[in-house]
């Protein structure tokens, strides 16, 4: 046996392109990625087997436009095609619209959408470039949810960020703060968050981020954003500690 991969292929009678040759992939790294997927807590309940029936892709909104097929994703996982899995994580898995129609339809009871989520989590864990690219436009939402506990704010929806939503973001001319106050729900008189979230609540959520490893995920993906968030939250925690102290003082005064 010779050491060249091409002749290895030829030895079993399989032809190859002798003129253009591809660089081999690092199989160990690929298997590590697959292992992370396979051992994910969701994995077993999302994948039971696959008949290749295609009902998932049939009903998939992304397949409507993209060369994307949940069936293919399930097949790659089911057949443990580590190269294919890695390739899909570069691009395809981000096409999924997470509607879970596939899961609702699968006769085997699989959840291709859930499997995509597992792959996305693992892409993040491995700091894959595709995940970073996809995350970038999400950073405003990330910052919001990680520091306030609330994912969206009325003041995020501006013509600069959403020109394609047209000129009528509101059909009544008035400053945003007035429009918000005209909502008959006191919790919604806010602009920075969708509803008023109290300080303790946002700190509680931040604790969840810390304890569940989400903050670590973020550090891998976007160090700058991570630093900003940590700074903000340190400050919030101090404020909260101060406030608690004040309460204690008040109590002492009583």
């Amino acid at each position: 046996m010779t050491s060249s991969p091409q002749s290895g292929q030829r030895a079993v009678g399989k032809l190859a392109d002798p003129i253009g040759a591809d660089a081999p992939l690092d199989r160990e790294a690929l298997e590590e990625i697959f292992d992370d997927i396979r051992t994910h807590p969701r994995y077993d309940s999302e994948l039971n087997g696959c008949l290749n029936c295609g009902i998932c892709t049939a009903t998939c909104p992304s397949a409507h436009y993209y060369d994307y097929s949940p069936r293919e994703i399930v097949q790659l996982l089911w057949t443990e095609n580590v190269e294919g899995i890695y390739d899909a994580m570069q691009e395809k898995i981000w096409a999924c619209a997470q509607c879970y129609t596939c899961a609702a339809r699968c006769p085997f009871g699989n959840s291709p959408g859930g499997l995509v989520m597992v792959m996305r989590e693992v892409a993040i864990k491995h700091g894959m470039e595709s995940a970073k690219e996809v995350l970038r436009p999400f950073s405003r939402v990330m910052l919001k949810v990680m520091t306030t506990g609330n994912q969206l704010a009325p003041n995020m929806i501006t013509p600069e960020h959403f020109p394609d939503w047209g000129p009528n973001i509101s059909k009544v001319e008035a400053p945003l703060n007035i429009l918000r106050k005209a909502i008959p729900m006191p919790t919604l008189h806010t602009q920075e968050t969708a509803w008023a979230v109290n300080l303790k609540t946002s700190i509680e959520l931040y604790t969840i981020w810390e304890e569940s490893g989400v903050l670590d995920q973020l550090e891998t993906m976007d160090e700058n954003l991570f630093d900003v968030i940590v700074d903000i939250m340190d400050e919030k925690r101090e404020d909260y500690a101060d406030w608690l102290e004040e309460q204690d003082d008040d109590d002492d005064d009583d």
């Binding site: 002749s7 030829r10 009678g13 003129i19």
Partner: protein, 308 residues
């Protein structure tokens, strides 16, 4: 030595009158040397190769049937031997189609009548390849007895190509158990050359395609396919690729050069027709076997091994 195939009708085909001249010369020379008689089919025509089939398969059937009809009608032999895989394949194909397909019978009959010759009927003539001819008429033992100049030390990869074995349904005599030729792992050439003293290497691409049909139309594809064949033969340690088809042979030769000229990939394995190799073993001269007419220049190698 049996009497079988001692005298056969010879269908050289167009290629053996052109680029396959060395094959033609060596086949005839080996036949003479072995005491076998070849009677060329009078007035034969081209079998149509793959090209006419692509225009119309029944037209190609007619072309081949015409040759068989001449043998059946005008020659006093019941066997036709074709050294070219393409010719051999097409004669086998019309034999099959004419027996099985009413449409073929209809077209062949119609055209034969219009052309004013007898319609070939299934089973009138047996078609064999040059390999069958020597294997059956002389056999390995017969070769071994006659070897004057053993091919000992020569490492050979035997290349059979596509048309000799595929598709299986036109070769009913193959895959019939021990002794018969195999479509999956043909071995007649191996047997004969081994008997001539050569060392036969284990060549996994025996029946892979050389892209001969597209040698000009899609030269890049042919070059890639041929390169696979050549490099694998070299990986297997072969000095020589033995061939039994003029199209494959010239394809290997041409694309060996093309790979070198267009892609800078050089290979040194030589191509020789199996009849040339057999002839050398039987003591025939290199010149008589047309070895100098090959593009692939094996003279240095043969000299080095004391074979020329």
């Amino acid at each position: 030595m049996s009497e079988k195939y001692k005298t056969v009708a010879y269908y050289p085909g167009c290629a053996l009158e052109g680029t396959g001249h060395g094959y033609n010369r060596s086949t005839k020379a080996v036949g003479r040397k072995l005491g076998l008689d070849l009677i060329e089919i009078p007035n034969w025509n081209c079998c149509g190769a793959m090209e006419v089939k692509n225009i119309d398969p029944e037209l190609q059937n007619y072309l081949s049937a015409r040759n068989l009809a001449i043998v059946a009608e005008k020659m006093n032999v019941d066997t036709v031997m074709a050294p070219c895989n393409g010719c051999y394949h097409n004669l086998k194909k019309v034999e099959h189609d004419i027996a099985k397909k009413p449409k073929t019978q209809e077209v062949v009959d119609r055209l034969s009548q219009k052309a004013g010759h007898a319609t070939y009927q299934a089973g009138e003539v047996e078609t064999i390849h040059a390999l069958d001819w020597i294997k059956e008429a002389i056999g390995e033992e017969g070769i071994r007895e006659r070897v004057k100049n053993s091919l000992k030390g020569l490492k050979i990869a035997n290349y059979y190509g596509c048309m000799y074995t595929r598709p299986r349904n036109i070769f009913p005599e193959k895959d019939q158990g021990e002794g018969s030729e195999s479509t999956h792992n043909p071995h007649y050439m191996d047997d004969l050359l081994r008997a001539a003293g050569a060392e036969i290497v284990d060549y996994p691409l025996k029946t892979a395609c050389c892209g001969g049909a597209h040698t000009l139309a899609d030269s890049d594809t042919s070059t890639k396919l041929v390169l696979n064949l050549l490099q694998t033969a070299e990986d297997c340690g072969a000095d020589v690729i033995a061939t039994e088809c003029p199209t494959c042979h010239s394809g290997l030769e041409m694309h060996q050069i093309r790979a070198e000229k267009e892609h800078g990939i050089k290979t040194s394995v030589k191509m020789l027709y199996f009849t040339q190799l057999l002839g050398l073993a039987l003591g025939l001269s290199s010149r008589k076997l047309g070895i100098h007419e090959n593009v692939s220049d094996a003279s240095g190698l043969l000299k080095e091994r004391g074979l020329a």
